[in-house]
């Protein structure tokens, strides 16, 4: 894949993840616990990482977070998203080399749990309320469930799109 094609494909992925992220934000929360969401946009980040590499996935993620926060959030929202996103990216970048495409869901679970840990950490720092850490176990459980779900979705997407990408 030459540079231009890669850039276009990354832009496409960024646009798709932004669309998914905005759509998910409109869905009322499934459970009345803040911080628990499916994180559907991570399907795209993970797919980008599996198909184009860690660096490209990080670029797609940053574009999505910055644009998403500009459209729908506030400055503090950018900080939280970046805290969660950066940690998730780091953990997934460290682990993706150890698992093949079929076990992408394991990488996704690590990423989702790291994302929740990052956001919880940022919340504790900002509100200066350490007792929010009691909230960790339920975020761990939800990260595992949602991470497995988005990881399975990403594995299907990678399998479907890989032949197309290889022809580029």
């Amino acid at each position: 894949m030459n540079k231009t094609k890669k850039l276009v494909f990354m832009a496409l992925l960024a646009a798709i993840s932004l669309g998914i992220w905005a759509a998910e934000a409109q869905i009322p929360p499934i459970v009345p616990v803040p911080g628990i969401k499916l994180g559907l946009a991570n399907i795209v980040t993970l797919t980008a990482m599996a198909l184009l590499g860690r660096r490209a996935a990080g670029d797609v993620l940053i574009v999505r977070i910055v644009l998403g926060s500009l459209f729908a959030g506030s400055f503090s929202a950018i900080l939280f998203s970046l805290a969660g996103g950066a940690l998730a990216w780091g953990v997934m970048a460290l682990t993706i080399g150890r698992f093949d495409d079929k076990k992408l869901w394991v990488v996704s679970v690590f990423g989702a749990v790291a994302h929740n840990a990052g956001e919880l950490g940022a919340a504790v720092v900002v509100t200066r309320t350490a007792s929010l850490l009691w909230y960790g176990p339920v975020l761990l459980a939800s990260g595992i469930v949602t991470g497995a779900f988005t990881g399975i979705a990403a594995a299907y997407l990678v399998r479907a799109v890989k032949p197309f990408v290889q022809r580029l």
């Binding site: 959030g73 176990p137 761990l140």
Partner: protein, 113 residues
């Protein structure tokens, strides 16, 4: 290969169950609604003593929230933050989950007296 898949499934299932277990088993009681801003107690309300529901305005340097207290329940009914997560959460009645308005550094927790 196959065994490894089961290893991860089992590990994550145990961790998720443990996390959910801690959440479900940990308390749930409490009658005092404590409103914190920046980790410092802003106001404490005994929810068993609330006969007629009323609103508490919380105006800080970060923004404006309206906390609604009723018998045994507390909620945020208005906030000038962009995300409105705290408003959409609705009322809490036990200590399991706090209401958090991150942009305003606001935490509402139900605690034991």
């Amino acid at each position: 290969m196959k065994n490894k898949t089961w290893f991860w499934i089992l590990l994550f299932a145990v961790l998720a169950a443990a996390g959910a277990g801690v959440y479900l088993l940990r308390g749930g009681g409490g009658t005092m609604a404590d409103i914190y801003v920046d980790g410092e107690l802003y106001k404490r309300v005994d929810l068993t003593a609330v006969a007629v529901p009323y609103d508490i305005p919380v105006k800080t340097q970060y923004g404006y929230n309206v906390v609604h207290v009723e018998h045994g329940a507390v909620s945020v009914i208005r906030s000038d933050c962009p995300e409105q997560i705290c408003v959409h959460q609705g009322a809490i009645t036990d200590s399991r989950v706090p209401i958090v308005c991150l942009p305003h550094h606001l935490v509402i927790q139900i605690e034991e007296p």
